[in-house]
């Protein structure tokens, strides 16, 4: 790809200056080496340094640069700029309070994540070297542990939009199942009790927006299904 100019329409809001948010039309010239949306954002930032967004690793590992790109949540650093329809419309992740421009307040999201106790609970004295798992048991954790907590999934979920204070959301539930599925964890019952609630788990109506947007290709809906399956197994 050679040099080209790309059109943007970016959500702008600075609560100190702006009465209400507005969309800013701006274009930027890209070099042949600029391939990802984040490259373009870096150029945009050089052109207008008031444009604010989060970024860090620039390779889809830290989950900082999640945003709504042309109506769909994703990571700027993993999105090919040339595959996007122009003008590229950038908005902050939906459903969370905007701090400034593309930066949202993730407090509610992390509150839900913490509520599922995202750590191994095992009261046995730790063995000399490590707690072992069979390869088959370890296999179950694949597709669960890779979550980078970018919030693309939870903020694309209508149930999370309506009840962010009560519904754990796809990211939190994926993490919950990661520990329920872990054979080294001893708190399975407490974890299931913690989720057995019309809001915390059962707000999920399996619409699979989460699966559609996950930049890591994970499947929270499947994990949620497995939690429900375990509850049924425990109940009947």
């Amino acid at each position: 790809m050679s040099k080209r100019t790309v059109q943007f329409s970016i959500y702008r809001y600075d609560p100190d200056k702006d009465e209400r948010p507005y969309m800013q039309d701006i274009s930027v010239e890209l070099e042949a080496t600029d391939r990802k949306l984040l490259d373009a954002l870096t150029k945009l930032k050089a052109k207008d340094d008031t444009i604010s967004y989060r970024r860090s690793c620039r390779e889809g590992v830290c989950g900082s640069d999640a945003m709504n790109i042309n109506g769909k949540n994703g990571l700027a650093c993993l999105t090919d700029i040339d595959e996007l329809k122009q003008p590229i419309v950038l908005r902050p992740l939906p459903g969370l309070p905007v701090i400034r421009d593309l930066i949202v307040d993730m407090t509610q999201f992390f509150k839900q994540y913490h509520s599922i106790k995202p750590y191994l609970i095992n009261n046995d004295p730790p063995p000399e070297r490590e707690r072992l798992q069979s390869p088959e048991d370890r296999e179950e954790l694949n597709g669960l542990y890779e979550c980078i907590l970018c919030a693309c999934c939870s903020t694309s979920c209508p149930s999370f939009w309506w009840n962010p204070d009560k519904f754990v959301g796809p990211a939190g539930l994926l993490a919950a199942y990661r520990f329920i599925a872990d054979t080294r964890d001893q708190a399975t019952n407490e974890r299931l009790d913690n989720l057995d609630d019309p809001y915390r788990l059962f707000r999920c109506h399996t619409i699979m927006n989460c699966v559609d947007v996950c930049p890591k290709g994970l499947n929270p809906t499947k994990a949620i299904g497995k939690i429900k399956e375990m509850m049924v197994k425990r109940y009947v």
Partner: protein, 115 residues
Amino acid sequence: MVNRIVVGAHYGLKDWIAQRATAVVMAVYSVLMLLVLVLVQPGDFESWRGIFAHGFVKFATFLFVVSLFYHAWIGMRDLWMDYIKPTGLRLTLHVLTILALVGYTGWAASILWRL
């Protein structure tokens, strides 16, 4: 009362199972009913009445309407939970929904056994 977020009602699983079970009942009934209609091809009131005169059809139809209303209860409750925030108003709507659906069940039964 302090304004704290409270969750942990410890229900939901039964409703989730019930919603799926009632959906299966409704799906099976719909297919069966379609078959009956294709086979019988009722043209007038008497032939329609003939279908529902069977004890099994009454039984199955009653199960269908009960499933429908139970399914609707969970769906309506979810709607109120998502969109109606004040607890008092939501509780009122819950109760009104239950009353309406219970009433419909009785009404449906009386219609069915009148045929």
